[in-house]
């Protein structure tokens, strides 16, 4: 059986479009030092390290070895994990399993990316099958655009519904000192922003950022001593879909998010997520997904999300605040993005989220999205499982 495990330290960089002042190892080190400081630990207290990013954004092979000076892994165990957009939670999850399995007590998980060093869309396009799909797959936007067009047609959702999600997340980011894009915008601003791929416009889509995030996990017995209020891991679940783009994006439902959240709720004993979860940090790569995917998280029935969004249920003062940090629409260092979701959820549970704190959070959920519409879900609580 898994050992009880909690997050006891969270660190992140101030994310922005381009960090010219640091190299990759230094960027990683900023997040690591900030996590160690948050947990009041030193690198000597760390038993093992997991790290990840997406290789083709920086063109560095064997990042686990290269990053040692920044991660502090010298003469320690380190391994690298990567799964595309989901990488950040893949790595965080590995941090959890390092401890849950009983092999290690205190583990550092690091996600990072310097998107400024790459042509992000060109790099993403190489994920596709080289003979059949690569020539016409133009990065992440197209499939998401097709998905929402389909959703609008079926349920009468509108472009303005998606714009409301963009306004919510961007305006939430004003409260987050680490966010990359901190700007007050209106639905009109979103609607008037340049069209990228119908119906997704510039302000509907996540940016590309430079940044890093680090989380420290600890076992029961040590976690309580390190943090006054650790964020306990209650459930981690993931799900994968088929790998040819035509298959997942033609589905009416967000298959992997449904499977992963269903499994996570079962493990955490949650039957009514809208009532039982206090805050969610969702990996929303485009505002449109903040509409359609709500039903795949089982917070409402099919086609009901637009109405809840119009009513403000997911706003900071609503019943279930989503993305108090601003989410990926405000900050997107890809290999770190999903880990920031887990870190922000942990900050909410620990009551350390500053101006973006949702009052009295007992249960928080974080998601990850990536690859061929794959999903991961983590549920944290302020009590032991």
């Amino acid at each position: 059986m898994a050992r009880r495990t909690a997050i006891v330290g969270i660190g992140q960089t101030h994310h922005c479009a381009k960090r010219d002042d640091v190299n990759g190892q230094e960027l990683i080190n900023e997040a690591v030092m900030s996590a160690l400081e948050d947990a009041n630990l030193t690198i000597k207290d760390i038993d093992a390290i997991v790290i990840g990013n997406m290789d083709h954004f920086e063109a560095i092979n064997y990042v686990d070895g290269w990053s040692v000076d920044g991660s502090g892994a010298f003469m320690k165990p380190i391994m690298k994990l990567t799964t595309g957009g989901t990488s950040g939670m893949t790595i965080a999850t590995a941090g959890y399993y390092h401890i849950a399995s009983g092999f290690f007590d205190v583990v550092l998980a690091i996600g990072w990316e310097r998107n400024s060093e790459s042509d992000t869309t060109a790099a993403i396009t190489t994920c596709c099958q080289p003979l059949i799909e690569r020539d016409f797959f133009a990065g992440a936007i197209g499939p998401l655009a097709a998905e929402y067009t389909n959703y609008m047609k079926r349920f009468g959702a509108t472009e303005e519904d998606a714009a409301l999600v963009s306004v919510r997340d961007h305006n939430n980011a004003l409260n987050n000192p680490y966010a990359h894009l901190r700007m007050k915008i209106t639905v009109e601003d979103v609607m008037k922003s340049p069209m990228l791929c119908y119906p997704i416009k510039l302000l509907d889509m996540c940016p590309r950022s430079d940044g890093a995030c680090a989380l420290i996990y600890a076992c029961e017995g040590k976690a309580e001593k390190i943090a006054p209020k650790p964020a306990w891991v209650h459930a981690i679940a993931g799900s994968r879909d088929f790998v040819y783009m035509g298959e997942p994006f033609q589905r009416e439902e967000m298959f992997t998010l449904e499977r992963a959240s269903e499994r996570a709720y079962k493990r955490a004993g949650i039957t009514n997520p809208l009532k039982e979860i206090d805050v969610m940090e969702l990996y929303l790569p485009a505002s449109t997904t903040g509409v359609k995917w709500m039903e795949s998280l089982w917070v409402c029935g099919r086609g009901e999300a637009p109405n809840l969004i119009r009513k403000g249920v997911f706003n900071m003062d609503g019943e279930l605040p989503i993305n108090p940090s601003g989410g990926p629409l405000a900050t997107n260092p890809i290999g770190a993005t999903a880990m920031i979701r887990v870190g922000e959820a942990a900050l909410q549970v620990m009551g350390k989220a500053g101006d973006r704190q949702v009052p009295n959070v007992k249960t928080a959920l974080a998601t990850a999205f990536g690859s061929c519409s794959w999903s991961d879900v983590t549920i944290l609580r302020d009590t032991k499982p």
Binding site: Y62, W66, S67, V68, A123, R240, F242, V243, S371
Partner: protein, 379 residues
């Protein structure tokens, strides 16, 4: 800690320029591992694939093999390290609540340019333009090691002779050769002191291993092979900051793995070892850090014949990495081969009565990282 075991093993034949796309290689290895265990893919509840975006020439390289590894609808993850490290993550997952983990690694080295891909592991500003790659950096390490301890090129060549000879008993491997020290010495020089026959080949292939927790392990067809200890450790990044002549990272990983397995005297208590001999000199260095002999005594150990088939501690009965080097797969193949030995299913390469085996994987430039596994046929 709960116990876990290896219950399924599958390997493709390791070959140069193998037919089939990545997914086909992974499907073949996965299917063989499932058949070996008497399982169906529905009996697997989580999957760890192993791939590297550089070696595969595509980003999110795990996508290319997810369907073939049976990931659909399952909880899956991907480790971008050698297979020995990926297997460790698979083991962690079965010890944390899952019943079974399928770990599968693939590589088609023949489709890429190993020199450019390994050059990309060096510092982009200070080191890459020097032209350092896997072979030239290993040559620096070999020379430093030989100079410090008086190891000769002929002693390194003995490793190559032994492993290629062993490969003749392994139907899966790529280079079974009947060669002499003289053949190795006369083979074309690649980077002094490394010659062609001191080097591992370019190999395509895949390997899959299924892990299960104790309660699950006994339900399936094969005798479980128990994991007694695992540990990994990394050295410094830059070659100039490391002691290239002796691997303290391997010593540290081995010490921890031995401690977990309760091994006090490795050279007596281990019956067979499969180590990551990407170059002939490496096997000698690994003997030392694994405690099979004293520091600097690797050359004497190979000369003694103790690590040959029929010796007290046969190393690489499979032919090792020198006989088939499918990058990322090779560490997992070491685990698979060690487990086959403990089952008594290693065919003509079987070490009689093997009860405790060591498997070893490396990752990074000049083996910056090491992972050591101790497996046993008894709990």
């Amino acid at each position: 800690m709960e116990r876990a075991a290896i219950i399924g093993i599958g390997q493709t034949k390791y070959e140069k320029e193998k037919d089939g796309i990545f997914a086909e290689l992974v499907y073949e290895a996965t299917s063989r591992a499932l058949d070996d265990a008497g399982m169906k893919i529905k009996d697997i509840d989580n999957v760890v694939t192993i791939s590297n975006d550089f070696w595969d020439g595509r980003t999110i390289s795990c996508m290319a093999v997810a369907d073939a590894a049976g990931c659909h609808g399952k909880d899956a993850s991907t480790v971008e390290c050698d297979g020995a490290f990926g297997a460790f993550y698979g083991l962690m997952r079965v010890l944390s609540g899952y019943n079974t983990t399928l770990v599968v690694a693939h590589s088609k080295v023949s489709e890429g340019n190993p020199r450019i891909i390994s050059n990309a592991a060096f510092d982009p500003i200070y080191e890459r333009s020097l032209g350092l790659d896997a072979i030239s950096s290993s040559a620096l390490q070999a020379r430093a090691y030989m100079k410090r301890f008086g190891i000769t090129e002929e002693q390194c060549a003995l490793v190559s002779v032994k492993n290629h000879k062993n490969a003749r008993n392994n139907p899966y491997t790529q280079l079974p050769l009947d060669i002499t020290v003289e053949d190795v010495m006369k083979s074309p020089k690649l980077a002094d002191p490394i010659k062609l026959l001191d080097t591992s080949p370019i190999t395509d292939g895949a390997c899959a291993v299924i892990f299960a927790v104790e309660g699950e392990a006994k339900k399936w067809a094969k005798k479980p092979i128990w994991v007694k200890g695992v540990a990994h450790c990394t050295d410094a990044y830059r070659l100039g900051e490391r002691d290239l002549t002796y691997s303290t990272a391997l010593e540290s990983a081995a010490r921890k793995a031995y401690q977990m397995a309760g091994i006090a005297n490795p050279s007596h208590e281990i019956d067979i070892a499969e180590v990551y001999d990407a170059f002939s000199y490496m096997e000698l260095m690994w003997y030392e850090a694994l405690g099979f002999c004293g520091k600097g005594d690797g050359g004497k150990l190979i000369e003694s014949g103790k690590t040959q088939m029929g010796g007290e501690l046969p190393v690489n009965p499979s032919g090792g990495v020198l006989s088939a080097h499918s990058v990322l797969v090779a560490g997992l193949a070491r685990i698979a081969e060690a487990a086959l030995q403990l089952r008594g299913e290693a065919g003509k390469r079987q070490v009689p009565g093997a009860k405790v085996a060591l498997a070893h994987g490396i990752n990074g430039v000049c083996a910056q990282q090491h992972c050591v596994w101790i497996l046993a046929s008894e709990k």
